[in-house]
């Protein structure tokens, strides 16, 4: 039997890897992938809490489904912004995008 701690540790590890990806990568699309990893870690925790703590109510599953919608919306808008940015400024490197208006 797998205790709940294994899932929590795994999710924490995935979260911190995603955090490192967000902080360290230069390319904006790669930063978005780091955010995607963090959202997956949250999802693992939600489903694990549903399975281990209250199997009869579906609170954990409903929350995880909402995280899917938020992750999809976030990726859609984020990548659209980077494409528009690339067309105007010709760069996707995060630290070159530092002016609000140019």
């Amino acid at each position: 039997m797998i205790p709940l701690s294994w899932y929590l540790i795994l999710a924490a590890a995935l979260f911190s890897i995603g955090l490192y990806g967000v902080l360290a990568r230069k390319n904006a699309v790669a930063i978005l992938m780091g955010v995607e990893l963090m959202l997956n870690a949250v999802n693992i925790n939600l489903v694990a809490f549903w399975r281990y703590l209250d199997v009869d109510t579906v609170a954990g599953q409903a929350f995880a489904l909402m995280v899917f919608a938020v992750a999809a919306a976030e990726v859609a808008v984020g990548l659209a912004l980077f494409i528009a940015l690339y067309r105007r400024r010709g760069t996707v490197v995060a630290d070159e995008i530092d002016l609000m208006k140019w």
Partner: protein, 170 residues
């Protein structure tokens, strides 16, 4: 070491290994492909948690749509010599330190939580979790508000993304 634990470890290694490659790979498209492998690992974890519906939705939504969107975006925003320079910010050791500290803090905090070593309750194979989820999603006293707001959120995301990516061509 039962079979279930061994399968869990296999999926954990796949997920974390691919996640590490996502953040450390130089070419953006390679990290997108590593992301797909990591999402496969997470789908396997959902199977172990008896959440078959989430495993399949994860594959359909994440690998079928979001990963393809990543690859499209990576192709659309690629300059010829973009992948040559250092792919990591100069302060990347600090970022690695922050990641490590966050992991240790989370692990320490969680270990002091009461239910940390909780064992999974018995799970009858035919419990209709899917029908319970379906009924809960639309029943007024459970999750119908977030259900409708999720569709409005999707509409807003699509309108915004189409407008942003479309630009002022006309």
């Amino acid at each position: 070491m039962t079979v279930e634990q061994f399968v869990f470890l296999v999926f954990a290694v796949i997920t974390l290994g691919a996640a590490l490659m996502v953040v450390t790979d130089r070419k953006v498209i390679h990290s997108a492909l590593w992301l797909i492998l990591s999402l496969f690992g997470v789908a396997g974890l959902y199977v172990l948690l008896n959440a078959g519906f989430f495993a399949v939705v994860q594959v359909v939504v994440y690998i079928g749509a979001i990963a393809i969107l990543f690859i499209f975006a990576a192709m659309l925003t690629r300059k010829a010599m973009e992948d040559v320079g250092p792919q990591v910010n100069p302060g990347w050791p600090a970022a690695a330190l922050i990641g490590g500290v966050v992991f240790v803090a989370l692990a320490w905090m969680l270990s002091h939580w009461g239910q940390f070593m909780a064992l999974p309750p018995a799970f009858a194979d035919d419990t209709p979790t899917l029908t319970q989820l379906g009924v809960a999603l639309v029943s007024p006293d459970a999750y119908v508000i977030p259900f409708e707001i999720a569709s409005v959120l999707l509409v807003a995301a699509m309108v915004g993304a189409l407008y942003a990516a479309w630009g002022k061509k006309k």
